[in-house]
């Protein structure tokens, strides 16, 4: 699949490999669109996110965001993670333990010198308000519940205004009730960011509940792609049928 530069949103063909394993995935995400990447453990989901964030350089392919090329090994072009307009919400949040919640959210603004200390704090508080976390600013990450920490991580990733947002298993570490609540919260929040959003999950229910469109990975390649309802009703492959059919018992 060729990648068209100049188009809005994410245009990517990601080829990365570790040892015998190769991931080769082509992916387009429009601004404001939420695409779910679904697949079993070891399918290459995390490698895909790392490559898009710039934490894992491409072996081949191209990553372009809103027409700006971020990684192009053929042209020997690579934009460092810190210069990419890409926000990442890591699976175990990776909130900075020694910083308050407010300073965590303000971190990107301060690091990029986008705002003075005071302005960054004010912006951080505004983001915490939007995440239903008003008043949590002075607290330490260690005092938060899983759902709260997840929303702080989201606020931290969104505060710098990324044009691509990557979420790695955002619901995996949460208990059932929090999971349902946060899924609804993310469903409402993510499209409103205006960023191209990629959500990685191993859970078909979460994927169907969050994403406008699904890309199903298996063994490093795209096994199927399409709207969640279509895939569930009309699975193109046996694997996809199993995935949706076995969704309930396989859920953790």
């Amino acid at each position: 699949m060729t990648v068209q530069e100049g188009a809005a949103g994410l245009r990517a063909r990601v080829v990365v490999g570790r040892g015998a394993f190769t991931l080769d995935v082509a992916l387009d995400v429009a601004p404001g669109e939420v695409v779910g990447v679904l697949g079993p453990n070891g399918a290459g989901k995390s490698s895909l996110l790392a490559a898009l964030a710039g934490l894992l350089p491409l072996r081949d392919g191209l990553v372009a965001l809103d027409g700006e090329v971020l990684d192009d090994p053929a042209a020997d072009w690579f934009v460092e993670p810190r210069h990419r307009p890409v926000g990442v919400v890591f699976q175990d949040y990776l909130l900075f333990r020694h910083l308050s919640v407010r300073d965590n959210v303000a971190f990107g603004l301060r690091a990029r010198r986008l705002a003075s200390r005071r302005d960054a704090s004010a912006t951080a508080d505004a983001w915490l308000d939007r995440m239903d976390l008003s008043g949590f600013g002075p607290r330490r990450p260690a005092t938060l519940s899983g759902g709260q920490a997840q929303r702080v991580a989201l606020a931290r990733a969104l505060a710098t205004g990324p044009r691509l947002l990557l979420l790695d298993e955002p619901l995996a570490a949460l208990d059932a009730t929090t999971r349902v609540d946060l899924r609804a919260f993310l469903r409402a929040t993510l499209p409103a960011t205006g960023a191209a959003v990629l959500v990685v999950t191993h859970d078909p229910t979460d994927a169907a509940g969050l994403a406008d469109r699904l890309v199903i990975l298996d063994a490093g390649a795209v096994a199927a792609a399409g709207r969640p309802a279509d895939l569930a009703e009309n699975p193109p492959t046996r694997y996809v049928a199993q995935l949706f059919g076995a969704a309930a018992p396989e859920r953790r």
């Binding site: 990442v88 890591f90 990776l94 020694h98």
Partner: protein, 342 residues
């Protein structure tokens, strides 16, 4: 599970080795959760195994032996081939200290400590050890970062060489410093020709000797902490737009701060006790290079009471340092365990 005598009582004197061993395990911030997490499992296993073994033993041994059960080590009596050497070892460490405290001229102690020579040595030691520690922090933390985070050819060798002063006899270090920085030394020659500066036998030389010997303790502490800290936090900082320097200041350094503190205390204690490299490279000039250990040594020849008084000061300092490090390490270990459990 700990052998009698190997714990607290042996520690006060333990300048380097036990403290270093303790540090080795805390240096690994995120390593210790795993290590600590392994411990309960090991204990669980230990609890099962003796239950089995006990059954055997009770079957074979006369009933009165069972009285020892539940005392000391879990799962049986204390084996004398371990207890006797352990007791002797503890005695070997403690007896000299008891002797020092016993023989101390307590009545004349205030007067001795007010003597000019003593106060001079004390003040010089505190000053030089502190400057050496600051110097070690300024140079050693970046060095530890380089060894832990940057891949370069010969890194393994560099790691080994940096820690060499920890096992090198200090007097050899002093000779090496003299040959390098002396007036006719490899580097000292140019220093002398260009600026007329001669390093040996100055207070600066004391600081250099102390830094040479003590900085590796800091480097090892910080490097261990860096290696075991979760580098994904640095990835997270990068995705948020942080430069490597910003990431180091705001993410990496705070994460290893407890180890930097512990390393600095250890470094200061080692610098304070430095003798061999100092006397070789800086001499023993009263007021200029005669630090406390050197003053103890020279006082032994004339006024042994003064030597004992100075020794007591150093002993108390060591105990305080050890207590401070314990206090610093224990909470860190607890955090690690609770993190692993969460």
């Amino acid at each position: 599970m700990r052998a009698p005598g190997a714990g607290g009582p042996a520690d006060p004197r333990s300048g380097d080795v036990p403290a270093l061993a303790a540090h080795g395990s805390t240096g690994e911030n995120d390593g210790s959760p795993r290590a600590s997490a392994a411990t309960p499992a090991a204990e669980a296993r230990a609890a099962e195994a003796p239950a089995l073994g006990r059954g055997h033993r009770t079957a074979r041994r006369p009933p009165n032996r069972r009285v020892r059960r539940g005392r000391g080590r879990r799962g049986g009596g204390l084996p004398w081939p371990l207890v006797v050497p352990a007791a002797l070892g503890a005695l070997l460490v403690l007896l000299p200290l008891v002797g020092l405290v016993w023989r101390a001229p307590w009545d004349s102690l205030p007067r001795l400590l007010r003597e000019a020579a003593v106060r001079e040595a004390l003040w010089l030691s505190i000053r030089t050890a502190t400057v050496a520690t600051v110097l070690s922090l300024l140079l050693g933390v970046p060095l530890a970062w380089l060894l832990a985070r940057v891949e370069f050819p010969g890194r393994g060798l560099a790691r080994a060489l940096v820690t060499l002063p920890m096992v090198l006899p200090p007097v050899v270090g002093g000779v090496a410093l003299l040959l390098a920085a002396g007036r006719r030394g490899v580097a000292g020659r140019y220093l002398y020709e260009a600026f007329g500066v001669s390093l040996p036998f100055t207070t600066t030389a004391v600081v250099v000797a102390q830094t040479f010997v003590a900085m590796p303790f800091l480097v090892v502490a910080v490097e261990g902490a860096l290696l075991s800290s979760d580098q994904r936090y640095e990835d997270a900082a990068a995705t948020l737009g942080a430069s490597p320097w910003y990431t180091f200041r705001r993410v990496t350094l705070p994460a290893v701060a407890p180890s930097v503190g512990a390393g600095a205390v250890l470094c200061w204690a080692r610098a304070l006790g430095e003798f061999g490299a100092t006397i070789t490279f800086a001499g023993s000039l009263p007021g200029t290079t005669r630090t406390m250990p050197l003053a103890v040594y020279s006082a032994m020849e004339s006024d042994s009471d003064a030597a004992i008084a100075l020794s007591l000061v150093l002993l108390v300092t060591s105990v305080v340092v050890l207590a401070a490090l314990r206090g610093r390490w224990l909470p860190a270990a607890r955090d690690a365990v609770s993190r692993a459990a969460a």
